[in-house]
């Protein structure tokens, strides 16, 4: 019993690392994603091409391959970061592609007539963006962005593969050390379920609040 109590401390610590990684990753992915979205909807062809290339590459490379390349490969080229930072950067760079797709999907879902009407009323570009397009675009972005966040939480588990001791990594260590797999696994799984269900719940609430009542 005391063993299990000791595990709880270790696991809660791991959960903390997972949450920290996920939040850092999500903020980074959101910022990068906004930049990529701007590139992909801009009229400047080279920027659009770069945005498309970035998204295609990162949507199609497995996260673990990118993580290995970043953590084991780049130090050979003289570029290295602490493990935790490396994983946060990887998560941000990888999921920025998915965040970009979510945001772009939201903008593209706004009917063209809305922007045309805004221009016809004499609104400037920033006005039409701030008052007409983005509020409507954000509505359809909530769910996809929540999916990105859930993806980041689950993706952060790959830290266990490169030596970041987050929740999954600690489960592995505890399973190897002690002979009580069930409580460890059960508690860790509960942690993940609580996080993802909370995200889904909050996203549902936000979406409901933003829904148009007609």
């Amino acid at each position: 019993m005391s063993e299990i109590l000791k595990h709880i401390g270790v696991l809660v610590g791991g959960l903390g690392v997972t949450v920290e990684l996920s939040l850092l990753g999500f903020v980074g992915a959101a910022v990068l994603g906004i930049a990529l979205t701007i590139m992909r909807v801009s009229p400047v062809t080279p920027l659009r091409a770069f945005g498309t290339l970035y998204v295609e590459v990162f949507r199609n490379i497995p996260l673990l391959v990118f993580l290995f390349l970043f953590v084991f490969g780049l130090p050979d080229a003289g570029i290295s970061f602490p493990l935790f930072t490396s994983e946060a950067i990887c998560l941000a760079m990888y999921f920025a592609a998915f965040a970009c797709e979510a945001m772009r999907g939201g903008i593209n879902a706004v009917p063209v007539g809305q922007a045309e009407a805004a221009r016809a009323l004499g609104m400037t570009f920033t006005q039409s963006l701030r008052l007409i397009i983005l509020p409507q675009a954000f509505r359809t972005m909530v769910q996809p962005l929540a999916n990105v966040l859930i993806g980041i939480v689950l993706g952060s588990s790959l830290g266990a593969a490169v030596g970041v001791s987050e929740l999954t990594g600690r489960v592995q260590i505890l399973e190897l050390q002690y002979d009580e797999p069930l409580p460890t696994v059960g508690l860790a799984a509960l942690g993940y379920v609580v996080i993802t269900l909370t995200i889904a719940l909050v996203a549902g609430r936000v979406q409901k609040r933003m829904a148009v009542r007609r």
Binding site: R40, V41, P43, V44, P46, L47, R48, F50, E56, V57, R59, N60, I61, P62, L63, L64, V65, F68, G73, L74, D76, A77, G78, I79, E101, A102, G105, G106, I107, N108, A109, V110, P111, V112, A115, F125, I133, Q143, P144, N147, V148, I150, G151, L154, G155, S157, L158, A160, A161, L167, Q172, E175, D179, P181, V185, A189, Y192, V193, T196, L197
Partner: protein, 294 residues
């Protein structure tokens, strides 16, 4: 959408065109600068030496990597064959009349959708053997992938059923069909057709998931690269080579899924999603991109 986004901009006039031209030149210069800096950094650390890259064109090395590709394909294929029926069964169970069956399926689906695949693999690698039975390594990788992606596919099928025009089931009920007949004969077959593009793009997820084979030492592509790099110490080169392979294969699959999606949108079949003349259909759960990300 390949052209300039029509939502945000009018057709540019002469002054805007000039500004766009300047921005194009500047951005090309900046990108070229970053690439050159990167190459200089790599070159300074001796990562551009030809021998380190031509190493991967030698026949034995190619054969070694190709065997990895074969195993990766095998894992993905077996997972697809097993996860598809599992997903269909779970979806049908979740939508069934029986409360108990629905509850069981909901718990199963939500659990495996919210737990990371790697942890499920550790369960089969470390916890299950303590109960006295150890699966062969291939199955220690395949079973967790099937469980996790089966849960995701169940939601894909369910989204397809939801997206189907309700007139279809209403008509079936009007013909006197029972609930089960409506689902099996009318709704589900059409729902499957609706989600085919999404199912194809889920193959990309399976291929990505198969990289976790490193944890149980299945000799798939990433694992081969890992072995190769620990032998040669060409870390950057090995991982770059396999990354390119994954990107090309997955991009091809995604393109195929997109083509299917476009075709389905052009020729809507009975009960399909209403076609949108502008092509600005709002992102629904059915869109392969928004459904699941990792």
């Amino acid at each position: 959408m390949s052209g300039v986004n029509r939502v945000l901009f009018d057709a540019p006039g002469p002054r805007a065109r000039r500004r766009i031209a300047v921005a194009s030149v500047v951005s090309v210069l900046v990108m070229a600068g970053v690439v050159v800096l990167g190459l200089v950094q790599f070159g300074r650390n001796g990562q551009l030496v030809a021998a380190k890259w031509t190493y991967f064109t030698q026949a034995p090395i190619l054969r070694f990597l190709l065997s990895g590709i074969g195993t990766t394909g095998e894992v993905a294929a077996v997972c697809a064959v097993l996860a598809l029926p599992l997903g269909a069964v779970l979806a049908l169970g979740r939508m069934s009349d029986s409360r108990v069956l629905t509850a069981v399926c909901v718990v199963f689906i939500e659990f495996f959708r919210s737990v990371p695949l790697l942890m499920v693999i550790y369960i089969f690698l470390l916890a299950v053997p303590k109960s006295g039975y150890t699966f062969p390594v291939f199955w220690q990788l395949v079973i967790p992938i099937v469980l996790c992606s089966g849960a995701v596919l169940a939601e894909v099928f369910r989204a397809g059923v939801m997206a189907l025009d309700s007139g279809q089931s209403e008509a079936a009920y009007a013909l006197g069909m029972k609930r089960r007949q409506v689902m099996w004969i009318v709704v589900f077959p059409q729902a499957i057709r609706l989600v085919v593009p999404t199912l194809v793009s889920q193959l990309v997820s399976l291929l990505k998931d198969s990289t976790l084979g490193y944890a149980v030492s299945v000799a798939e592509l990433l694992n081969q690269a890992k072995d190769l790099s620990s032998y040669t110490h060409y870390f950057i080169q090995s991982y770059t080579v396999v990354a390119v392979v994954y990107i090309l294969v997955n991009a091809a699959i995604s393109q195929f899924a997109h083509a299917l999606e476009r075709r389905a949108r052009r020729k809507p079949r009975a009960g399909g999603v209403v076609p949108d003349p502008d092509g600005t259909r709002p992102a629904t759960e059915l869109d392969s991109e928004t459904l699941r990300v990792a």
